[in-house]
Amino acid sequence: MVFTEEIFLFLFLPLVLGVYFLLPYRKSDDGKRSPFFVRNLWLTLAGYVFYAWFEPWFVILMMWTNVFDYFCGLYLGRDNMSPGHRKVALWMSMAMNLGLLAVFKYGVFAQVNMDQLLQTLGHPGFEIFRIAFPIGISFYTFHSMSYVIDIYRGERPVRSFADFSCFVSLFPQLVAGPILRYNILSKQLHSRQHETSRFSSGVILFFIGFAMKILLANPVGTIADAVFAAESPTTLQAWWGALAYTFQIYFDFNGYSVMALGLGKMFGFELIRNFDAPYRSESITEFWRRWHISLSSWLREYLYFPLGGNKKGEGRTYTNLALVMLLGGLWHGAQWQFIVWGGIHGGWLALERWMGKRPFYGHLPRLLRIAVTMTIVVIAWVFFRAEDIPHALSMLGSMFGLGHASAWSGLLDAQIWRIDHLMVMGLCLVFVAQPFQSYEFGQKTTWSRLAVSFSLFLVGLCFMYGQAFNPFLYFQF
């Protein structure tokens, strides 16, 4: 189920909201079961139905993760556990979670590479065994892992399975984040406020996020799709397509995140902000403070710091940065181009760290610093969007005038240079460039903000009816 389709808007959301607010909750916390136990249970059930809509049997996999990590958490939280036993429990949980990722997310990737290696060595190779990819597995696995790690680090485990399951399967953030660390949500599972100010602020955010996805991300996505699908575009077409994808991924993912934040608020949760005007960054270091904030803070917390962070000397710091970004790239998808994308960002981060957290173009005027950073980001996105590395290199070749445009690339012009395309690309540029972002816009409910957001939502609704099914880009991760 997707936030921007009818089944969600006109059946799931009103039903879940309606029942949620009819269910009772206790006013006081007795320190045992959450006062919101029944409501959390309802949200858990809703999360499972939401997830099952993609493919019912995927729910079994998610349930298994939930049950396993719930008991691991309980075991880790017992008093007088020896450090050895605690470590074993932690490693068992990590092995199970990463094992699931290895099989379901990286299984085909491993087979393809093994097959190619065997063929290179003269062996005939083998047929690839196709494995279905459970949508959002990277997200809920990371949620679940963060719980176990936090318990290992001293957080109290939840007593109720419903509460834990609610944390993992909370539908607003289930399949595309924001990736929550358990310690952010643990208190809210027990005590949260349901106020009109928070609810209405959530509605405004939801309206805005919806409009971002339908009115900006989807239209520019058609340009990106056409250009990236082409055999070999011209230089101008290639830049246009890469820029379109740069906007698409931002408005698609940010749109989803903002809607998730809004939905969270409607149910009384404060999820974390995922984007903070990333394309206004003046360096790659700054970009990663503003882009997919929940992932970068997850990686920092659970990977970069455990690896030693910047506490083990300069060389180790650069290695850690590069390694974290490489793994971050691999987290996005089981393909070499994601690893290269992570490598590019990791390399730049290390370089900027070496230069004292400043880019080598730090002496330029601010506007130019932003432009250079944006150019680096656009180039890196080419790897992220391309079908494989040779395709990414071919696109980059086209962008820098080194490629040969295909005989038929002229026909692409009729598909990508339309007035509506120019308008929507212009709008995207305006929205990414200005400092007042959707997150700030949704923090307060006023008549003017209601008028703007509701109008955009209604226009978005009309366009939703006219667009083909268009899932969010981050669902594939």
Partner: protein
């Protein structure tokens, strides 16, 4: 001015706005469903086993039944066309009132069959101990050729060029090197594999220079009667070089009878614009109906030596108006004998072969099988290029 009281009102108004949409729309829909059918569509959801197919099927039905969707969608499409010249997901607007079918354009723009990217997302399969990729039409065509050859039947493959291959200038703002065609590349590969194939790209391009009439309909995916005639001449010439066909040459005499028809373009229809009938007019074309000595329109023969498998390029003017004026009738006239045929719209890559199972007798009499498909099927063939046992 924002005071706590006005803010509180705005907060409630925001919530009401949300509820008005997410509750008001489904309630209106439910009332409409109940009035029409006496039951709620929602009930169906709980009467089906919750499999992915059933859930998504219910979802798709709900979208189709949406009264808001069906009211808004056409207006929105029309607005997008009026303001931006956007004719929808399936149509690309060309110059001088020409329309193009998007997959025809995408076929040319996307990677060719000789590039690895053509096969992206597919994996090799082992067939008879060899690694093959069944996404390639070559694999299926070679397989059909092998099966037919084992029965003593000759296969002739005919990829039909799409409109943008012959008339790129009606679409492109930039330059196009139309001498390079992915279809010509397929033909070379087929010939190298010993499969007989007819090139229609070159003769149609030549005919475009010499014919006064356009070879393709301006607002239809398909060729015009002039295009059919040019292609039929080429195909008939080729078939007459084959002994089983030339032996029966002039077994039956046919004549032409010109008839003018009004053709409403299928791309106009696919645009789904409410005002499409006002924006685009029908095209008037003169088709040559093939008739026998009794002036009866051409009819297939179930015992023919030539069996024709094809798609909508074989259907147009043949079973459509004016009938018996399509490529099958024109080729039959050219070779002087009737043919048998199995035609499936948009399914010449695989579906037509499956359909042949229902008419297995046709293959028993056939000495030559002609397999016609539009070039875009090389990439977008319905059901792909599945390896199938012939009946």
């Amino acid at each position: 001015m924002d005071t706590p009281k006005t803010n509180r009102l705005a907060q409630w108004a925001t919530i009401v706005c949300l509820l008005a949409v997410v509750v008001g729309i489904p309630l209106t829909q439910a009332v409409s469903d109940f009035r029409k059918e006496g039951k709620l569509h929602l009930v169906d959801l709980f009467t089906r086993f919750p499999s992915k197919e059933n859930l998504h099927g219910w979802d798709a039905e709900a979208r189709d039944r949406s009264i808001f969707g069906s009211a808004i969608r056409p207006k929105l499409l029309q607005m997008q066309y009026d303001l931006f010249g956007n004719a929808g997901a399936k149509a690309v607007v060309g110059k001088d009132g020409w329309l193009f079918y998007r997959p025809d354009v995408e076929f040319l723009v996307r990677p060719r069959m000789d590039q690895e990217r053509f096969f992206l997302g597919s994996f090799d399969t082992m067939v008879d101990g060899k690694r093959v990729n069944v996404k390639s039409p070559l694999v299926a065509i070679r397989d059909v050729n092998r099966q037919l050859a084992a029965r003593g039947i000759h296969l002739v493959v005919i990829p039909v060029p799409g409109k943008p291959t012959i008339y790129p200038e009606k679409l492109s703002g930039g330059t196009v090197d139309s001498s390079c065609s992915p279809t010509l590349m397929l033909l070379d590969s087929l010939k190298a594999s010993g499969v007989d194939a007819v090139d229609l790209v070159t003769p149609l391009r030549f005919a475009k220079q010499t014919h006064a009439k356009d070879l393709y309909l301006h607002r239809d995916t398909h060729w015009s009667p002039a295009g059919v005639a040019a292609a039929a001449e080429m195909i008939a010439q080729h078939l007459l070089t084959l002994a089983p066909v030339s032996r029966r040459r002039d077994a039956r005499k046919y004549w032409w009878r010109d008839t003018t028809i009004e053709r409403w373009g299928d791309i106009c229809e696919m645009s789904a614009l409410p005002k499409r009938r006002e924006i685009w007019k029908t095209e008037s074309v003169t088709a040559s109906q093939v008739v026998d000595s009794a002036l009866a329109p051409y009819a297939d023969s179930d015992t023919a030596a030539v069996l024709w498998l094809g798609d909508s390029y074989s259907r147009i003017y043949q079973t459509d108006e004016p009938k018996a004026a399509g490529i099958i009738a024109q080729v039959a006239k050219g070779i002087g004998q009737p043919m048998s045929s199995v035609v499936n719209d948009g399914g010449a890559s695989t579906v037509v072969r499956r359909k042949l199972h229902q008419k297995a007798d046709l293959l028993k009499h056939a000495k030559v099988v002609v397999w016609e498909f539009v070039e875009r099927d090389i990439r977008f063939g319905d059901k792909g290029w599945v390896l199938e046992e012939l009946p």
